[in-house]
């Protein structure tokens, strides 16, 4: 026990003396949450719009006013001819151009039909889909108001209800993602680097010759990163609840349990990486390539797994973050209980046991 305590204390010295690293580790979750929360949002806001109106009339004016009044759009420019449309996009003056037909109000009154063309900059297809959808809605609602009391025998009015996230806040989706990424990054990458550093500096040799049992070495190595991960977990949760206003719909206790399990998987993964590599750079590259990129791209954090090609969907099953993120969404956002995440718990437990068994075996082999 004394051995273990001396060793754990040493590990804390290592971490606390490396000021840059500890600062990065503690600030990373905060920066990520702020970045994802405020900068990298997929919500549409203040999209710049230009309008082409051949003849201004009562209806076009009102319609443009209404679009401008919504928080999604800013009408920045009124252009006179279709030649200017190209130029508007080329100079990035607007993301969307509304082209009204000639004699808009007159046609609407006499023929009962008039056209508006929406020309969108689809460089970012997601954004283009969103804002054309919003502008169509505004036009539809204006039309609804115009019809007003007029009788319409057949009318189907869809009423959309957004469950779990009624205001469609992006944070609801990325908070679980950031949790999944930060925890695996800190646990796996830092643990593997910490162990490999001992190999590189030659101190591992001294430890192996000493009566220190390998399991103690491992425990002592992972303890500080476990503590750090818990701090990061709390930071992210506090920030998301109080700054981003993402409530914890389910039980906090269940969330903690699944997170501990996930941290354990990540630590085991770091251990495994450390037994496979001989240099800190290699450990970092493997963690970076093998963990970061799949976690970001294939865990469902950014792109929905359902939309991926089948081989990638199958591959995503081996990524621990996928199961964790799914469990966090179920508990934190949907507010479901323990029984809803049994599958995720089982998969993560299985991964944890497998990884621990393999890396302990590998670690022993090195003693020979």
């Amino acid at each position: 026990m004394k051995q273990l305590l001396s060793f754990v204390r040493k590990e804390f010295y290592h971490i606390l003396r490396d000021k840059t690293t500890i600062l990065i580790l503690l600030l990373m979750p905060i920066i990520q949450i702020i970045l994802f929360g405020f900068a990298l949002t997929t919500e549409v806001k203040d999209t710049r719009v230009a309008v082409l109106i051949p003849q201004s009339d009562e209806i076009t004016t009102k319609l443009v006013e209404r679009i401008h009044a919504s928080s999604y759009f800013d009408v920045v420019n009124t252009i006179q001819s279709s030649y200017e449309i190209q130029k508007t996009f080329r100079d990035s003056q607007a993301k969307l151009v509304l082209v009204f037909e000639n004699d808009f109000a007159a046609k609407l009154k006499h023929d009962g039909i008039a056209h508006i063309q929406l020309i969108a900059d689809a460089t970012d297809p997601n954004a283009a889909t969103s804002f054309t959808f919003y502008v169509s809605n505004i036009i539809a609602s204006y039309q609804q108001d115009m019809i007003g009391t007029m009788k319409n025998p057949y009318q189907i009015t869809p009423e959309v209800k957004m469950l779990y996230n009624p205001q469609m806040i992006g944070a609801f989706n990325f908070v679980p993602g950031v949790l999944g990424m930060i925890l695996i990054l800190i646990c796996a990458m830092m643990t593997s680097i910490a162990i490999v550093r001992e190999k590189e500096k030659g101190t591992m040799e001294i430890l192996l010759v000493s009566p220190m049992r390998p399991i103690y070495t491992i425990l002592a190595k992972i303890t500080p990163y476990f503590v750090l991960s818990c701090i990061n977990f709390l930071t992210i949760i506090i920030l998301s609840v109080f700054v981003l206003k993402v409530p914890i719909a389910g039980s906090f206790f269940t969330l903690v349990i699944i997170s501990m399990l996930y941290i354990f998987v990540a630590l085991a993964l770091g251990l495994l990486i450390s037994t496979l590599t001989e240099s800190q750079v290699a450990a970092m590259l493997i963690s970076g390539m093998a963990l970061m990129i799949p976690v970001m791209l294939l865990s469902g954090m950014i792109f929905p797994i359902e939309n991926m090609p089948l081989p990638l969907q199958i591959f995503s099953n081996v990524i621990p973050a996928r199961w964790y993120i799914s469990a966090v969404k179920l508990v934190m956002i949907q507010g479901l209980g323990f029984s809803a995440i049994i599958k995720e718990m089982l998969v993560l437990s299985f991964m944890a046991i497998t990884l621990i068994v393999i890396s302990l075996k590998k670690f022993k082999v090195r003693l020979e």
Binding site: K2, Y13, H14, K201, L208
Partner: protein
């Protein structure tokens, strides 16, 4: 005879390659035993077997009275080890390194404190006590690494090329520390490339291609091979090597 290390037909094979081929020798308590050999002669492998890091393929060995096959944990408790990198933790202070290794070898806090004070005084290290190891000159690190290796009063200390990259004056001072440790009853098992250092040993073994080709006091070896110094003895023996490095 009080033998601290015994090896009988100790052999280590890696696949078809026999790194250490049936070596047999004894080391007495308090002896300074030089373990020489060219690179790749099997020195390190032999030493790793004695330290309990590597299981012998065949043969018998005991260190500090414990079997190196079955009692590796006990062997490890009773030996000290210093590598050629003087491996200490750079980002730990001098006293923290000592405290850590004291703790790993199961010493209690009181013992560690008393012995640390004594050691700092003896090494004249009182100023450096609170400094990070990274900021120490190489000679200081070497002294400290040796002191840490024998801090828990092991029966044997294994030194793997302990003077690499250090100037002759510092080397000489280091050997004085080795003598002092031997006087205190610690057996010293040392590998080296410097033939002048071989002269300081009580007895020397020279390994060639996994076998011990010669084992005696430097004086007898020089007489036997009619050589002026140990360097000549070594050259004569090492030239027989068939192994490529």
């Amino acid at each position: 005879m009080d033998n601290v290390i015994t090896a009988t037909n100790l052999t280590k094979q890696f696949g078809h390659f026999t790194a250490v081929d049936q070596i047999s020798f004894e080391v007495e308590r308090g002896e300074i035993f030089g373990f020489l050999g060219a690179n790749g002669a099997g020195k390190t492998t032999a030493m790793r077997m004695l330290c309990g890091l590597s299981k012998p393929t065949s043969g018998i060995g005991t260190v500090a009275g414990f079997d190196i096959h079955t009692q590796t944990e006990k062997v490890k408790k009773n030996i000290g080890y210093m590598s050629q990198k003087f491996s200490l933790y750079d980002d730990l202070k001098v006293w923290e390194n000592i405290e850590l290794f004291g703790g790993i070898y199961g010493m209690n806090d009181q013992d560690i404190k008393v012995k640390t004070d004594k050691l700092m005084y003896e090494l004249n290290f009182e100023k450096e006590r609170n400094m990070l190891v990274a900021s120490l000159p190489l000679g200081f690190k070497q002294k400290l690494a040796f002191s840490v290796a024998i801090f828990h009063q092991p029966q044997v200390v294994f030194l793997d090329e302990p003077t690499g990259g250090v100037d002759p004056v510092t080397r000489r001072m280091f050997w004085e520390m080795i003598y002092k440790a031997a006087e205190n009853g610690i057996t010293v098992f040392v590998t080296t490339h410097y033939m002048d250092e071989a002269e300081y040993c009580n007895r020397v073994s020279i390994m060639v291609d996994g076998r011990i080709e010669a084992l005696d006091s430097p004086k007898n070896l020089k007489a036997h091979y009619s050589a002026k110094n140990m360097d000549e003895v070594f050259q004569k023996l090492a030239r027989k090597s068939q192994r490529k490095e």
